[in-house]
């Protein structure tokens, strides 16, 4: 991060039912908040932070996305959970840089397909290429390959899946990853989707 010296962070993550519940689940949601706080959970023992947003760029992502036929949701007020905050604690010391959280539904089935998620990433890249400002933007994706949180297989890891996914990510084989990361395969690896 230090070498890259970014000015803004866009962080992709899934909401762990801290903001969204089954009364309203967005597939994708951009945070338009001027600032947000976290970690939200009382059971997350880490420092509490206030994180600045970047409203002009966030609105830019939203408009560009809508024009590119991504029906993005947007929120002007959000609570940041552990999965947003832990990476930032290490990668954004003191929360010096503004952060735009961009949520992908990962836990309330049916979730967006891997292909769609990849297309979203492509769209964000295209947006940044045409963004008129000269900010350097870091993209962080926070998540876990598979872990049966609260499920009967908690403690077991699908090593084969973890190895395969890391391999594809590290070698930039996004098409392979998109093809193989089906809901069925991820459920078999014990991804908590609900029913």
């Amino acid at each position: 991060m230090e070498r890259a010296s970014p000015d803004v962070i866009i962080e992709l993550d899934s909401d762990h039912f801290d903001n969204f519940f089954y009364d309203n689940v967005p597939a994708f949601c951009v945070s338009l908040a001027e600032e947000a706080e976290g970690p939200q959970e009382i059971w997350c023992p880490m420092p509490h932070y206030v994180v600045k947003g970047h409203v002009p760029m966030a609105r830019g992502v939203l408009s560009y996305g809508i024009d590119a036929h991504f029906d993005l949701a947007a929120a002007e007020e959000l609570r940041l959970d552990h999965s947003v905050m832990v990476p930032l604690h290490y990668l954004n010391p003191g929360m010096a840089l503004p952060v735009i959280p961009l949520y992908v539904n990962g836990f309330a089935a049916p979730t967006p397909t891997a292909e769609r998620c990849f297309a979203l990433g492509r769209m964000v890249r295209d947006f940044l290429d045409q963004w008129p400002g000269d900010e350097r933007v870091a993209l962080i994706a926070s998540g876990c390959f598979a872990m049966d949180v609260g499920g009967p297989l908690r403690g077991w890891t699908d090593e084969e899946w973890v190895e395969a996914v890391s391999g594809w990510i590290l070698s930039g084989q996004h098409r392979e990853l998109s093809t193989h990361a089906t809901a069925e395969r991820m459920a078999a690896a014990a991804t908590p989707y609900g029913t």
Binding site: D148, G150, P152, P192, T195
Partner: protein, 105 residues
């Protein structure tokens, strides 16, 4: 029949400090105030995680039962309870529930 309401009770316990306080003080009353079926009510009130899992309650929310020690559920009995209606799986042998930090409120 409503997984939505079962999920909601546990979601609110995790996210709403006032609701959580009331769940500590009068849990049965709170659960009974939701429009649940007899079967759902019983499963929740007896901490029957296995029944709730079979009904399709989200595992994130079931996890809160252990985290907040609701209806007799805790870290030590959780896995046994959630597996109670499942066939044996060899991967169970690798199971463990992490320590879940909950501050005193």
């Amino acid at each position: 029949m409503s997984n939505y309401l079962l999920n909601k009770i546990l979601y609110m316990t995790d996210n709403d400090a006032d609701f959580r306080k009331r769940m500590k003080e009068e849990p049965a009353e709170i659960v009974q105030s939701f429009k649940l079926s007899g079967e759902e009510m019983e499963a929740m009130l007896t901490g029957d995680v296995g029944a709730l899992y079979e009904m399709g309650v989200h595992t994130f929310f079931l996890n809160h039962m252990a985290r907040y020690e609701l209806f007799g559920v805790n870290r030590d009995n959780y896995l046994e309870r959630i597996r109670s209606r499942m066939e044996y799986d060899q991967r169970f042998e690798q199971g463990n529930m992490p320590v879940q930090f909950v501050p005193k409120e």
